[in-house]
């Protein structure tokens, strides 16, 4: 438990909130000042998150070898690994009676996510530059949304995590319902909010139940001893009591089997983890678009204004995956081992089915919307491998998809702003007038279809590899029926899903960007501005960078995944 020298994570959360409040006090006519403050806040947060990313020490833990040895000998060291991986920590006992602490920190998984949020936030403010309808409110809500997203990624306390989780959904509703696409916005905003709220409420109930179960464990003699030991070793905050929302404490409880006691709810074979894992995992994964709870996402993406689509698909969906991994897999590993072998089928459906639907859309934005469903399926599939390779791939896919899809929505927005239509068949030849957008879209598309040299490939390859590696270890038993060695089949089908990705990307490229440009139909379509070029470069560069040199991110993600895998009992 090392406190950070200065509260950089708190700054990352509170700078946008303060900026949002300040913006509300500015006169509505001073739109440029409002924009300036918004971009300033976003840029500061980006720089801070870059600072966090660059200063995150991936060579963490001098204890690495000891931990490895301990893990190999069968000892569970998840909590220790997790607390080792956390950096830039801040801890204030906030409401000790309720077990709530203001505990922030980043590990190898959240540091890239924080960076991604920073990038997309800057890009989002820049593409919303021309919004003239209630600029003030738009920017304020947008910054609030960003603050919420940051909060989830840096929260180590489960209460804080849920708090920020809800905080990021609420502005989303207003942003879509107010500034969205007129034809769909109310429906889509309502659909989105309901889906995510219901999912998160279920997950929240699960988490409260989890905290209570953990408390019951820690007030036993054995549990108290474990807790005292952890406090003495500095794995959990010193002020921790038996009743705590702290993630380290939950990890400690999970590690010592508090959630795997048979006889939960009066059923002999049931444990807490087995019963609650699907609710918590899927409850959060709704936001990651897991089938069949994905339908909020394409509608939401399409209805939202460009910047909101970007942050929505680029970052918010990662929020779901992140929370599902943190609260689901990490805290309920036994449940993960029981349930992920069937959840993998849902992820497969996501991958293939999303791609198929994207292929048939006429609306440019729906194509991207469904492509997100497909790509996020790969993330959950990576989780389902439950090994280091697949998990690393999932992490890379989260970052890669975030940048890529934000780039996509940026491109769509730029075309739509000028052509005022998103109907694919009636567009054409835009590569001639908007070469930058065409190039950016093609790069994004290539990343999406897993072209080597771009980040998508680096993400897909480990996921597929993880699936092969897991194939022999994982089996699914349903009653008397045992299914073994089916991950290899799933990965083959998923790979063919990626082929369809290529099909819809090429279809869009050929119909929107290639072919003849009709000047009579689009008299005032012109090239994009420097500001927009910057957005494209800003989001496109990491795709290439990670594709060529994955070592800028992969080792860090592995540090983040190690505790999760240790919890799963996989030697890492």
């Amino acid at each position: 438990m090392t406190q950070a020298a200065f509260p950089v994570l708190s700054l990352i959360i509170f700078v946008p909130i303060i900026a949002a409040v300040v913006i509300l006090f500015i006169k509505r006519e001073q739109a440029d000042l409002i924009r300036g403050i918004a971009i300033g806040a976003a840029a500061i947060c980006f720089l801070l998150s870059l600072f966090v990313y660059l200063n995150y020490n991936s060579q963490v833990s001098a204890l690495n070898e000891n931990l490895d040895a301990a893990a190999a000998s069968g000892e569970n060291v998840g909590t220790q690994m997790f607390s080792e991986a956390l950096q830039f920590e801040e801890y204030v006992p906030w409401l000790p009676e309720l077990g709530i602490g203001y505990h922030l920190g980043v590990d190898g998984l959240s540091a890239p996510m924080v960076l991604l949020t920073g990038m997309v936030a800057v890009a989002g403010v820049l593409v919303s530059w021309k919004i003239s309808d209630r600029t003030r409110e738009f920017m304020a809500f947008f910054l609030l949304l960003v603050a919420g997203v940051y909060g989830v990624f840096v929260a180590i306390d489960l209460f804080l995590l849920l708090f920020f989780y809800e905080l990021s959904i609420f502005p989303m509703y207003l942003l879509i319902a107010t500034w969205g696409w007129v034809q769909l916005r109310e429906y889509a905003a309502m659909k989105l909010t309901l889906y995510i709220l219901i999912g998160s409420v279920i997950a929240m109930i699960g988490i409260i139940a989890m905290v209570l179960v953990a408390r019951d464990y820690f007030i036993t003699d054995a549990g108290a001893a474990v807790l005292q030991n952890a406090i003495a070793n500095g794995w959990v905050p010193a002020q921790t009591t038996a009743f705590s929302f702290d993630m380290n404490v939950m990890t400690l409880a999970a590690e010592n089997g508090a959630f795997s006691q048979p006889g939960y709810a009066g059923v002999d074979v049931l444990t807490f983890a087995r019963l609650w894992f699907p609710f918590i995992f899927i409850g959060f994964a709704v936001l990651a678009g897991v089938f069949p709870f994905h339908n909020w996402s394409p509608d939401g993406h399409v209805a939202a204004p460009t910047a909101v689509s970007m942050i929505h698909a680029g970052v918010l969906m990662k929020l779901g995956a992140y929370a599902a991994l943190r609260c689901g897999v990490q805290l309920l590993p036994e449940g993960a081992q029981v349930h992920l072998p069937w959840i993998v089928f849902l992820t497969l459906i996501n991958v293939v089915y999303g791609a198929f639907i994207a292929f048939r859309q006429r609306d440019f934005k729906y194509v991207i919307g469904f492509s997100s469903v497909s790509h996020m399926g790969l993330v959950s599939m990576g989780f389902a491998t439950m090994n280091m390779t697949g998990m690393t791939g999932a992490g890379l896919q989260m970052f890669s998809h975030g940048a890529m899809t934000a780039l996509f929505f940026g491109c769509v927005g730029m075309v739509y702003d000028r052509a005022h239509t998103r109907d694919i068949p009636s567009l054409g030849g835009f590569a001639k007038v908007m070469p930058w957008v065409a190039a950016a879209f093609i790069i994004g598309g290539l990343a999406g279809m897993g072209m080597p040299g771009l980040s998508g490939f680096i993400a897909e390859f480990p996921i597929f590899q993880g699936m092969w590696e897991a194939s022999e270890q994982i089996s699914l038993s349903l009653g008397g029926f045992e299914l073994t060695n089916y991950y290899s089949i799933i990965v083959i089908i998923a790979a063919l899903g990626i082929v369809i990705t290529a099909a819809y990307v090429l279809r869009v490229v050929s119909q929107v960007f290639f072919g003849e440009f009709n000047r009579a139909q689009y008299p005032d379509v012109d090239d994009i501005t420097v500001r927009e070029r910057f957005v494209l470069l800003f989001l496109g560069a990491p795709l290439i960078l990670i594709g060529i040199a994955p070592s800028v991110m992969a080792p860090m993600l592995q540090v983040g995944m190690r505790p999760v895998l240790a919890m799963l009992g996989v030697g890492v």
């Binding site: 659909k191 069949p292 339908n295 089915y353 198929f356 639907i357 292929f359 048939r360 859309q361 090994n387 280091m388 390779t389 690393t392 030849g429 590569a431 001639k432 290539l446 279809m449 897993g450 072209m451 080597p452 040299g453 490939f457 680096i458 390859f461 480990p462 597929f464 590899q465 092969w468 590696e469 194939s471 022999e472 060695n485 290899s488 089949i489 990965v491 083959i492 790979a495 063919l496 990626i498 082929v499 369809i500 290529a502 099909a503 090429l506 279809r507 050929s510 290639f514 072919g515 003849e516 440009f517 000047r519 040199a549 994955p550 070592s551 992969a554 080792p555 592995q558």
Partner: protein, 826 residues
């Protein structure tokens, strides 16, 4: 690391090979691709956009055009020179094959071990390094002339430089992942280059088709790579197929660097000791899928990789993209069909051969599933594509199908274990096919030139000179005669449909384009396998010899391959002769053909376009003499006194050197017979009596409906459409989107919403009379009380005072009672 280290260390030098073209790509795309805007109607824009009235389009400026050419050429020439240097260094190694040039660096740490990327120059790579940069350089030179009038020449050069860079990366890669990167980047380049003239619908459709078809195969190949990596923890070629296993146990020990010492020990044990490598071990491991049916892991991985090659090297049934790929500029066709892309597919299976073979031994008649797959697919494709090529009239389509057919030869050769022969044919084919494509490009260029010439003069003699009419294309074949009478004198139809690639419009080009003719002839004869003096003969003969050797031992696949390839070779000779006859022999069958040429003989275009032809023609003849069987009468002693040079050189790539087969005159005689026979039949039909203008192809009447089937490529595209494309589209729309997504999932959601709304309405009703009754009652009560109170507020001070006093007393009493003050009072 500074550049000097790279140059002075032979192990590091191969890194620099792909750098030149890749750098050229970056420089051209970012710096020299400067354009100016000109009206689309300007003749400078090459007439690409008739519909763009009034719009400005970007056209490369002359300066940037020149700089582009200089940068691009420097890149590829640098790659060529470095390659030659690397080859000479490599050949100078004492035991080349066992010793190789290699170096690698840590790229990414996945799981426990890191993934190392590196370069490797072993004999197979060295051979490829001889062919690829040379052919690429020729293609670059040729492009200077071919694309001289294209408004986007810079873009072309940047892409083709990337293409060459990717191919060279693939060749020097020391692991399957880097190879795959080059492979995919090439796929991307082919997409961009086939669709280079993206205003043409047919061009970008062909580009999409090429990309998608190869993409399906690529993903399957990627699965093979992933499976391989997951099972052995390395993708390094040497670690998998050459270096012995460090640990005797079969557990999943990760090998990063195989111990050089161990290799030497194994070598010391003698040639015949079977060395246990990852490949042979995988050959003994059952596969994850189908393992129960006796498929080994190596075979399953092998099948995946072979499928990748089937896509990339355009084998049946994934060959459909390659003929359409002719929509790209001709240098691209040469690049795709000869030097780079399709060769990459064959190169990869040659490279992975020990893995494909693991657990079997084709020379003893023991075949593994991937080998069988290759033998059957390859032989079938060789024949299948050759039959289609017979009936094509497009000069480039004939070559496209001949490429598919020749690649089939190589794949089939590999399938029956003729490792060396496959590599040999790969090299010779690359030379003569690059030559043929570029020569056909020159023909097309000449025809276009002729057509412009005709146009320029058309005003003068439009009506007094009856035009010689082209025999019309495919669709009209059956009704050729009626159409002809209708078309006579119809200027518009002639110019509207003029196809500079249609061989029926050509004829007699030998007179106006003599250099092209001679080089085309050399390439054609080499393709046909004209005995003894052409390269194609020697490599094809070696394949047949291998196949015959197995046949004599009674191995079914060998016999199958031998028969099919012999027939295919006959057809090859025939269609080559047909093509040569239709194009160059006889009299011109159109005005354009009469005036076809490459401009003045000293012009840049003419020189740039013929020089590469001459260079490649040299190799199309002489490249074959490196692989003559030592026992071949006379020539064997002359060229292969100390053993077959090519065989010994490339054979050293494998840990178990492939044994040579004894010389047998029978396959040689068959080679003679099919080549000369095919050429003779072709001569008899197309040279003896050259085709006249308007006369249908004699094959039409001979073959009848079969010809129509062949012309339409066995209706394979249509079949694909019905079998795959339409069902997926239907599935995507009808089932996935409308039925499941919008129907079931959203339907369910909407049902819930409706039920919720209904419940809401119900509650609202309830609300109205029950809760609202109460709710409304409360405010009403309050209101009435208010009125009552208001009456109290009469505004009279005395009454207020009274009220105040009452209130104070009341509060005082309550206070007193509650605190017990009252009780305490006396």
């Amino acid at each position: 690391m500074d550049l000097n280290t790279f140059i002075s260390d032979p192990n590091l030098l191969p890194w620099l090979i792909p750098v030149g073209p890749l750098l050229a790509f970056v420089i051209i795309s970012l710096l020299t691709n400067r354009s100016k805007l000109i009206p689309a109607t300007s003749p400078k824009y090459g007439g690409h956009h008739p519909d763009y009235d009034g719009m400005l389009v970007p056209v490369v400026t002359d300066l940037s055009r020149v700089v582009t050419i200089v940068v691009g050429m420097s890149g590829i020439v640098a790659a060529w020179l470095i390659s030659l240097r690397v080859i000479s260094l490599a050949v100078g190694l004492p035991d080349f094959g066992h010793d190789v040039l290699s170096s690698s660096l840590m790229w990414m740490s996945t799981g426990e071990t890191g993934f190392r990327m590196g370069v490797l120059v072993d004999p197979l790579t060295a051979v490829m390094l001889f062919m690829v940069p040379l052919a690429c350089t020729m293609i670059f030179i040729y492009s200077i002339g071919y694309m001289a009038n294209d408004p986007r020449q810079s873009r072309f050069f940047s892409m083709i430089a990337l293409f060459a860079g990717a191919m060279l990366t693939l060749v020097v890669a020391d692991n399957l992942l880097l190879l795959f990167i080059g492979w995919e980047v090439m796929g991307l380049c082919s997409y961009l280059l086939i669709g280079f003239w993206f205003e043409k619908e047919s061009a970008y459709k062909a580009a999409i088709k090429a990309f998608m078809t190869t993409r399906v195969a690529d993903m399957i190949m990627l699965l093979g790579i992933v499976y391989l990596y997951a099972s052995v923890g390395t993708l390094n070629f040497r670690d998998i197929m050459y270096n012995p296993l460090p640990a005797a146990e079969g557990e999943h020990v990760m090998v990063v660097e195989a111990e050089a010492a161990a290799t030497e020990e194994a070598a010391a044990e003698g040639e015949h000791a079977v060395v246990e490598t990852w490949a042979s071990q995988l050959g003994a491991t059952p596969a994850l899928i189908l393992g129960g049916w006796g498929v080994s892991a190596a075979s399953l991985i092998g099948i995946f990789i072979v499928i990748g090659t089937i896509g990339k090297s355009a084998q049946f049934p994934l060959h459909v993209w390659l003929p359409d790929a002719m929509e790209g500029p001709t240098p691209v066709s040469a690049m795709i069909h000869a030097a780079a892309m399709v060769s990459a597919g064959v190169y990869t299976v040659i490279r992975m051969y020990p893995l494909l073979e693991a657990g079997g031994h084709p020379h003893d008649g023991v075949f593994t599933p991937p080998l069988l797959l290759m033998a059957f697919v390859g032989a079938f494709t060789a024949l299948f594509a050759a039959t289609i090529a017979v009936a094509q009239n497009d000069v480039k389509k004939v070559l496209a199908y001949s490429t598919i057919s020749q690649l089939g030869f190589m794949i089939a050769a590999l399938g029956i274990g003729a490792y060396i022969a496959a590599a040999f044919h790969l090299i010779t084919h690359a030379f003569f096919k690059a030559l043929l494509f570029m020569a056909s490009g020159a023909v097309i260029h000449g025809m276009e030139h002729g057509e412009h010439h005709v146009h320029a003069h058309a005003h003068g003699h439009e009506h007094d000179e009856p035009h010689l009419l082209p025999a019309h294309t495919a669709e009209h074949e059956g009704h050729a005669d009626e159409h002809h009478s209708a078309d006579i004198g119809d200027e518009e139809a002639e110019h509207g449909h003029f196809d500079p690639q249609d061989m029926l419009n050509m004829g007699g080009l030998r007179k106006t384009m003599p250099v092209t003719f001679i080089t085309f002839l050399i390439g054609g004869l080499s393709l046909a396998g004209f005995p003894l003096i052409t390269a194609g003969f020697w490599s094809k003969d070696e394949i047949l010899a291998d196949a015959w050797y197995g046949t004599t031992h009674g191995f079914g696949p060998h016999a199958f391959v031998f028969v099919l390839l012999a027939i295919a070779a006959f057809l090859t000779a025939f269609y080559t002769m047909r093509q040569l006859g239709l194009t160059f022999w006889g009299e011109p069958r159109s005005e354009a053909a009469k005036h076809a040429n490459l401009g003045p003989g000293t012009g840049v275009v003419a020189i740039m376009m013929t020089l590469p032809l001459v260079v490649l023609a040299f190799f199309a003849i002489f490249a074959g003499f490196v692989g003559v069987h030592p026992d071949f009468p006379i020539l064997g002693g002359l060229f292969s006194g100390a053993g077959n040079p090519f065989h010994d050189f490339v054979g050293a790539t494998l840990i178990n050197h492939p044994e040579g087969i004894p010389f047998n005159p029978f396959p040689v005689l068959v080679s003679f017979a099919v080549a000369l026979g095919g050429l003779a039949v072709g001569w008899w039909m197309y040279w003896r009596v050259p085709l006249q203008a308007g006369q249908p192809d004699p094959l039409v009447s001979i073959l009848g409906p079969i010809h129509t089937t062949l012309r339409n490529k066995y209706y394979f595209d249509e079949l694909n459409d019905i079998l795959f494309v339409r069902p997926s589209v239907w599935f995507a729309r009808a089932v996935a989107y409308e039925f499941i997504d919008r129907g079931i999932i959203d339907g369910f959601l909407h049902l819930i919403a409706r039920v919720a709304t209904w419940i809401g309405d119900f509650i609202k009703m309830l609300n109205l009379w029950l809760i609202d009754g109460v709710g409304d009652g409360i405010p009403e009560l309050i209101a009435r009380t208010g009125i009552w109170f208001r009456r109290l507020q009469t505004g009279r001070v005395q009454q207020y005072m009274l009220l105040l006093a009452l209130a104070v007393i009341l509060i005082g009493i309550i206070f007193a009672l509650s605190t017990g003050v009252l009780q305490a009072a006396p």
